[in-house]
């Protein structure tokens, strides 16, 4: 099995000019068919089906119209059923499937013209083309423009639409209908009444049926259950004695009453439903906020004088009171409740806003603190470095001063310890007195954070 591309399929569809006059989709399907034999696009049994790579089957024509209206580009066409990208189309399908679709029985499309033919779908085209006598054909006389049923066509090719006058009824009848008119339809034709066997004209048959004494009629009270059917002549005597006829007016009156009562009941039912709905609504509003309603409830009861006892604060009791109290109280309570609800909501919103503000303020303070702390650390470092420079500048002075005081230069070779910064130790080339150094060191450590 080989597949062809979508483009080939479209080209094939465009090239094949079908001369089929029967639209298989608009046929009247007589036999019921399985849903699986139904094209998911047109919902008819498959008509020349094709298959996609994903194994979904469609009518060729349906698939082509789906491809041509596909929104995205044609290469991206996806299966209408499963949206799998599809590249190719298989034209060959199992014969079993094709046969099952073909043998579904349909009515001849010219049923309205009188053809009663029911045939398997595959043969209906042949039936219409060759055998159906009811297919409207163009009149052999080209200028006429009317149509004639195939079986009525004149073998010599004459136009059958010429008007003829009926000798009996003086109506104008087309030639093709003339014979039928003469034999069956002409209103001036003589017929016999099937009941009394008198001969009358066809057009008077209807009137005659109303008056014919032999026709069988049923009793006028048949709708009330009288089973009697008699000839018109005998019926009159029966109707004088029929008990059901004399009861008739009474039955009618009863029926009318029943109808009006039913109508009233229906109206009452509806009103009842509406009231019940309203009641249920009130109940749910009360049930939703039993604790919250306690406060405004009491206020509502004290403000309305018709309450019987308003000193019962428990909620079930107050609910039953509300049920029994009049409309005015209920609406006031409802109004107050809703007011209370909306106020609660507002308070909630406000507290929410306050928390929000609080958080924002503390965040701002924290970041400001951090910045200030950093600044302070910087300043500290600067101060200590200045201090060290001053120390260094002062060192030679101190040294001179000490050496001038002491007669001999006492040299302490050992440096005071690892704490000495190289910047201070390097250039001094002499021993540094322990005391001021230690002081400066400890001072710096103290200020550092």
């Amino acid at each position: 099995m080989t597949s062809i591309t979508l483009e080939d399929l479209l080209a094939m569809e465009a090239n094949c000019d079908r001369d089929e006059s029967v639209d298989l989709r608009s046929l009247d399907y007589v036999s019921s068919y399985d849903d699986h034999l139904m094209c998911p696009i047109c919902h008819c049994p498959f008509i020349s089906p094709v298959r996609l790579k994903c194994d979904h089957v469609f009518c060729q024509k349906c698939l082509v119209s789906a491809i041509t209206t596909f929104a995205a580009s044609r290469d991206d066409f996806t299966c209408p059923a499963c949206r799998t990208p599809t590249g190719g189309v298989y034209l060959k399908l199992p014969r079993l499937l094709v046969n099952m679709c073909d043998e579904i029985r349909v009515r001849c499309p010219f049923r309205s013209e009188g053809c009663e033919e029911v045939a398997p779908r595959v043969f209906i085209q042949t039936h219409v083309d060759k055998y159906c006598g009811y297919r409207p054909m163009d009149c052999p006389l080209g200028s006429c423009g009317l149509k004639t049923r195939k079986k009525d066509l004149d073998p010599e090719g004459r136009c059958l639409h010429e008007l003829h006058q009926c000798a009996r009824c003086e109506g104008n009848i087309m030639e093709q209908d003339y014979k039928e008119h003469l034999d069956e339809l002409c209103p001036n034709l003589q017929t016999t009444c099937p009941d009394c066997h008198t001969t009358i004209l066809r057009r008077e048959l209807k009137q005659h049926a109303d008056t014919c004494p032999e026709t069988i009629h049923s009793c006028a009270a048949s709708k009330y259950g009288c089973p009697i059917q008699l000839k018109r002549a005998d019926l009159a005597t029966h109707e004088q004695t029929c008990p059901l006829i004399s009861m008739g007016p009474y039955f009618d009156a009863q029926n009318a009453r029943l109808d009006s009562l039913e109508l009233t009941i229906r109206h009452l039912k509806q009103r009842n439903e509406i009231f019940e709905d309203g009641l249920a609504n009130i109940r749910t509003t009360l049930a939703q906020s039993p604790t919250a309603s306690a406060g405004p409830d009491d206020r509502a009861t004290t403000s309305t004088p018709p309450r019987r006892n308003n000193n019962d604060p428990t909620s079930p009791n107050s609910q039953s009171q509300i049920d029994s109290s009049n409309q005015y109280t209920a609406t006031t309570t409802n109004y107050l409740l809703s007011l209370h609800e909306s106020l609660r909501e507002e308070v909630g919103q406000l507290s929410h806003a306050i928390t929000d503000l609080d958080a924002r303020a503390s965040m701002a303070i924290m970041s400001e603190c951090l910045r200030i702390k950093e600044d302070m650390a910087h300043t500290n470092a600067a101060v200590s470095s200045i201090r060290m420079q001053v120390q260094w500048l002062l060192n030679p002075r101190l040294h001179q001063h000490q050496s001038s005081q002491r007669t001999g230069g006492v040299r302490t070779g050992a440096s005071p310890g690892g704490h000495t910064p190289t910047a201070a130790a390097g250039p001094s080339t002499s021993t540094i007195p322990l005391r001021p150094r230690r002081l400066s060191d400890s001072g710096r450590e103290g200020t550092k954070l």
């Binding site: 608009s26 696009i41 047109c42 919902h43 349906c62 119209s65 789906a66 209408p80 009103r271």
Partner: protein, 170 residues
């Protein structure tokens, strides 16, 4: 021709059987149908509510998608007068369900109703079921963003609107 044939077949099937929660209200012609849908689970947003969908079919259905939107029925103003009771039978109250993809004028933003997402395999029944499940899956009690502007400015028909289908979670 194609559309009427296919729709009359669908109508026959619908009158025979419909999935639970879906019912057909009006199908006088083969151009506009009204369907009622209910959400069947316990979703509190749509509990005990019935919504009405209007399908408008073009001549090219099912090759072209139908126009589908929610519609309202006028609410009876006061329940007491008896005259409005008859009205309540033929026209029960119908509202627009709340959903982040349904505008308050009833227009539905759903890709399978656009020409890009539509497939001719879809039927009225399958569209109803898709919308039913779209409601079932929703838990957000909100309208789409920009609903007010869209509703007051939009005079276009649903099929002429270009929606962006950005939410794959629905």
């Amino acid at each position: 021709m194609f559309a009427t044939k296919r729709l009359s077949k669908e109508l026959l099937k619908i009158k025979e059987h419909l999935p639970p929660g879906i019912s057909i209200v009006k199908s006088d012609n083969l151009e506009e149908w009204l369907m009622d849908i209910k959400v069947l689970d316990e979703n509190p947003l749509y509990l005990n509510e019935t919504y009405r969908l209007k399908f408008t079919f073009s001549k090219k259905y099912p090759i072209e998608p139908p126009e589908v939107q929610f519609v309202t029925t006028p609410t009876p103003t006061s329940p007491t007068p008896a005259s409005s009771d008859d009205n309540a039978i033929t026209n029960p109250r119908r509202t627009i369900p709340i959903h982040p993809h349904i505008y308050s004028n009833g227009i539905i933003c759903l890709d399978l109703l656009s020409s890009a997402g539509w497939s001719p395999v879809q039927t009225v029944e399958s569209v109803c079921m898709s919308i039913q499940s779209m409601l079932t899956a929703n838990s957000r009690n909100e309208r789409p963003p920009g609903d007010k502007d869209f509703v007051s400015y939009n005079r276009r028909r649903p099929r002429d609107i270009n929606f962006m289908y950005d939410d794959d979670n629905v």
